[in-house]
Structures are given as structure tokens and as C-alpha cells.
């Protein structure tokens, strides 16, 4: 079946609404408008205003209401327009969703799913382009998903809804229009493991979400030069699939982490640290990183591009790592 990432996501939401009457979608402009990125287009007409629930502009209020509704037995899907706006709901996410189970000594779990758009590449400037999923991956109690493929766009949501704890799904804005083939019977997928998207033996390129296409491009370029890169899609930023990361590095002895977040204090730093801590003697070269330049993302196209990880930069980092033969 030909489809797009956006349509796969929508199919997942529709499927969840049909499967479980406790499920509902709520957020700003998810209903009458059709979703700010048109993910929920048509669902308002199909399921009505109770289950496709438009909210006022009150991120903290409706995220908190999602937590409360989850505590009250519902299975809410809360959509936040972009990760930048989720900062207005940080209190609810960090102080309530992530803590209630622990503070209550195991009495109150929060089966809530929150979806939001992340990332740059669309000239939206510094208040709509940031990649803050790495921040959220810092928080114990949250599960952080970054679907990068059609299969994951279609399959992660249902598994997330079955999860007893809060799950945040980050959808990179440049992926919505990605088109491809999806199996007609595509369904739920696991939300705990990383996936090898391209096997290789010379170097591990470790990434997630919006940078997966650029990393795959880089791997193709490198193959033409005789460098056989393995591409590992993390899929889940918390908890990290350490075994997959270390297993890949054990095979290739080299690693470059590609992360659209800023380098300082990032998930790429975490990965680099874990590889160094646990696989130091497997390494033939220092762990490399390709991240966004440390600026608020600029509007001008050439500047935005200059700030982001591109296939060229990724390939260059890989060549450097391979060149540094131990």
C-alpha cells in the first residue's frame, strides 16, 4: 500500500479510536481545523467533537487534563503542536506525569500518550524548529519514542497506548510527507528496541527520527567509496537500547552519533558516554558526533541548512572515523 508518514500516523490514530472506546485525541486544532500538520484530518468528522477534542491554547491545562483523564481510566492521546510549545506544559510533564507513580509508591500510573512535532528544516525559525526530545529523554518515568519510518509511524501508537506509563512520541516535521510502501497488514510494533536499518561492518552510524534519511543517504555515499556503514535507528530515546548500540559497535569498532539536537548536554553526548564507558576496548577510533550548530535555528534557508546535520557532514565524520585506524 502506498502511503505517507502523515497518513500512517492518522491510520494509527483511527485504528486506536476504533479499537478502544477509552481512547480520545485532544489538542489545539486537532478537530475542526484538521490538525496543524493535518495528521488528524477527517477524524473530527468521523469520530465527533467528544473524541477529537479541540482545546483552547492552554498547553499546561490540557496536558494536565490528559494526565488526570488517564488516572481516571481513559487512554488519552494528547497532541501538542510542536515541541517548543510543550515547554508551557513542562510542569505537568515533568512534575506530574513522570513522578506520580513513584511518589504514590506505585499506586497511580499514568497511561497517557503525548504526540508532538519536533525538528527543523522548514525555515520556521527559532521558535518552531528545535529538537528537544533529548531533554525529555533525561527524565525518569517517561518513555520517549521517535518514529522515523512508515512502519513506526503506523505501529508505535497502539503499543504506546497499551503501555501503563506516559509515552511521548516525537514526530519530525520533515517526515510527514515521506511516502513509501507499507504492508497492508502493518500493525503494532515494539517500543523498546533499536533497529538496524542498514547492516554494515566498517562503522556504526547511530541516529533517530528526522535525521534517519540523511544518515541513510550518507551510508549510500560511503558505500560508493568502499565504506560499509551500519545504520542503527534508536527508535526509543528512553530507555535506550544499550544492547543494540553496544552490539553494533562491537561489530564495527567505530561509531558516529547523528543527532539534530545541540551537541552540548545532548542525547548524542549520552550515547557517546555509554559507548566509551562500556565498549572502550572495542573502539578503533574516538566516537564522532554530528549535531546541530549551537545557535537558535535561523530562518534563512542557507543558514538553517548550515546549522543542521546533512548527509555530507555525516559522511565526512564517518570518513574521519574510518581514517583514524587504530
Amino acid at each position: 500500500m502506498k502511503t505517507t508518514y502523515r497518513e500512517a500516523m492518522r491510520a494509527a490514530i483511527r485504528d486506536a479510536l476504533q479499537r478502544d472506546e477509552r481512547v480520545f485525541l485532544m489538542g489545539e486544532d486537532v478537530g475542526a481545523y484538521g490538525g496543524c500538520f493535518a495528521v488528524s484530518l477527517g477524524l473530527f468528522e468521523e469520530f465527533g467533537p467528544e473524541r477529537i477534542r479541540d482545546t483552547p491554547l492552554s498547553e499546561s491545562g490540557f496536558v494536565g487534563a490528559g494526565i488526570g483523564a488517564a488516572l481516571g481510566g481513559m487512554r488519552p492521546i494528547v497532541e501538542i503542536m510542536t515541541v517548543n510549545f510543550s515547554l508551557l506544559a513542562l510542569d505537568q510533564l515533568v512534575n506530574n506525569a513522570a513522578t506520580l507513580l513513584h511518589m504514590s509508591g506505585g499506586q497511580f500510573n499514568v497511561p497517557l500518550v503525548i504526540r508532538m512535532t519536533t525538528g527543523a528544516g522548514r525555515q520556521l525559525g527559532a521558535q518552531h524548529s528545535h529538537s528537544l526530545e533529548g531533554w525529555y529523554a533525561h527524565i525518569p518515568g517517561l518513555r520517549i519514542l521517535t518514529p522515523a519510518t512508515l512502519e513506526d509511524a503506523r505501529g508505535m501508537l497502539w503499543t504506546a497506548l497499551e503501555d501503563p506509563d506516559p509515552v511521548l512520541i516525537f514526530e519530525h516535521g520533515t517526515l510527514y510527507n515521506v511516502a513509501g510502501d507499507l504492508a497492508d497488514d502493518a500493525g503494532p510494533v515494539d517500543i523498546s528496541t533499536a533497529a538496524v536499518r542498514r547492516p554494515g561492518k566498517d562503522i556504526s552510524l547511530i541516529t533517530y527520527g528526522g535525521t534517519l534519511p540523511a544518515v541513510l543517504d550518507a551510508a549510500t555515499q560511503l558505500a560508493a567509496e568502499g565504506i560499509d556503514a551500519e545504520v542503527l535507528d534508536l527508535r526509543v530515546l528512553r530507555p535506550l537500547d544499550d544492547a543494540a548500540v553496544l552490539g553494533s559497535v562491537a561489530r564495527t569498532h567505530r561509531a558516529v552519533v547523528v543527532d539534530e539536537g545541540w551537541r552540548s548536554g545532548s542525547i548524542s553526548a549520552e550515547l557517546s558516554a555509554r559507548i566509551t564507558e562500556n565498549a572502550f576496548f572495542d573502539l578503533d577510533a574516538p566516537v564522532g558526533r554530528v549535531c546541530s550548530a549551537e545557535v537558535p535555528l535561523p530562518y534563512a534557508k542557507h543558514l538553517e541548512l548550515a546549522a543542521l546535520p546533512t548527509a555530507e557532514r555525516i559522511a565526512a565524520a564517518a570518513r574521519e572515523a574510518v581514517g583514524a585506524r587504530g
Binding site: S60, L71, G72, M103, G105, Q107, P140, E162, D163
Partner: protein, 333 residues
Amino acid sequence: MSGTAARGSGSSDSDHTRHLLHQMLRVRRLEEQCVELYSAAKIRGFLHVYIGEEAVAAGVMSTLAPDDAVVATYREHGHALLRGVSAGAILAEMYGYVEGCCRGRGGSMHLFDAATRFYGGNAIVAGGLPLAVGLALADKMSGRSRVTACFFGEGAVAEGEFHESLNLAALWQLPVLFCCENNLYAMGTALARSESQTDIALKAASYEIASWSADGMDVLAVEEAARRAVDAVRSGGGPHFLELRTYRFRAHSMFDPERYREKTEVSRWMERDPINTLRKALEDAGQLTEKDWKKIQQDVDAEVKAAVEFAEAGTLEPVEELTRFVYSERRPQ
């Protein structure tokens, strides 16, 4: 006995009023015990007591049904107790013992109890309001006629979450009872120094929420206001808002030197002590004998004593269990 037992249908008004007196005294003595235990270093962390404000929790709790939900703040020992959490489980929690209502994970500011639908214990000012809205949303979407009572201080009124929550509750006509405990101070900040409009019930009314204030030092007035509101909420009347005018007799927490208010102000309010006032009214009406009062005190003292013994006998959760309850232990697959 818990406050949720409310008024038995056969009991007379004076029985019920004596019951409320008893409930307030339970809170008072438990709080006094907490202060003592804090001074003895048995309890640590932040401790906020409810002394002076007992009529608010006692009056509201007595109008709730067992399957209603309660959301409260960090000043919630009394709410938990009157909701039906045992004094022993509350004290053991403050001791940090596994026998505590949250296995020692929460402490004084984070009491939770699934059995009585007590959803905390929230130490972020106004952080509980959105949760209450969501609990009520779940009830409304599921066609249940339960009420969610949400307690918060007047300090919360300045927070964005207060306004977002009132708007959502009114917009969606959710079964929430907002109970603002207006004790005139947020730590050291007097209401008039933090709000351009100090009539809080009026503020709430601007969201098209039925809203009124009641004398929070008079448990019967609180109960009457709450009963009217709870009945309306339960029968589909949408959210209601009560501003309960009260006063805290003690410091904000154990670390507060109280530089911001006059001793005379405190003593003026203490003349309106909700327990003494009700006791006197009952005595004057010939509805409380010396013997009755003695009995109430003895019962409360025995309850608190037993709670301390329970807490003292508590045990520490093994450190190996430190990272439990970060994620649920029962997962699908």
C-alpha cells in the same frame, strides 16, 4: 472512622455536628503531633500544617461520596486523614517508612491513596488543578456521576494553571468542585500584594463558573456551601467554585520566621478558632456535655497515639528497591 462516612441517615443534626467537631479535632491533634515529631527530628523535609483551617477540609469532605476523587496540595495531611487514609499510614509516610501510604516515596507533601481516590499531595502550586479537570473529564466522558474536589490555596490563583483549568472545566462543563482555601497568605505574600482583584469568587465567576464564598472558620457554613455545590456538580450542573475564607494559625512551614504578619493579627483570628467556636456553640445549645467532649478528646488522643506507635514500628524499604515505581512493574507482553 473516616470523614467519608458522612452523616448517617438516621443520625440527628447534633450527632452530625459533634461528628464534625470530632473530625476537626482529629486533624488538629495529628498536626500538633507532626510539629512535635518534626522538632524531635522524626519527620524531615518540608512540613506544612493545617492548624486553624480544619473547618475547610472537614466541611467539604463530609459532603463527598466514597467514589468521588480528591486532589490536594502539600498542606494535605488533614485532607488525607478525613478522606479516610489512616493516621498511622500518614505518619509512617512522614517517617519515610515502607508502611507509609506511599512507602516513604512521597513524604509529607505527597500523600496518595488509591483506595480513597486521593490523588495527592501536589507540591507545585496550582499543579493539581489540571489533574482534577482531567479526572472530571474522564468521569464525564464515561457517563459517571462522580465529583472531583480540588483543594488549593489562594496563592494558586495567580498561576496560569489556575486560569487554564477553570476555563477548561467551564468550557467542557466538567464535574469539578474547586475549593480555594483562602488563608490570606502565600508564604509571606499577602493576598492584596499578589492580586489586582482580591475577590477570588468573583474571579472564578468570570469564567462562567457558579461561585461563592463561605466562612472557612465555620465548619457548618463550609459544609452547607459544599453540599449545595457538590449536589449541583453531581447532578450535571458543571463546575462549581468555593472560596473558603480561613486563616493559618501556624507558620507557613517549619522554616518560616513569620516576619510578614503581626502577632495581633494571628491572635485575632485565633479567637475564631473553628474547633473552639463549634464546641462553644454546641455547649451553649446544650448539645455537648463535658462528658461528650472528654470522650471526643480521648478518642482522638488514642487514635493519634496509636498512629505514632504504628509509625515508630515502621521499617525501611530495602535500598535495593530504590528504582521501583519509575515505570510500572506490570507491562503488556
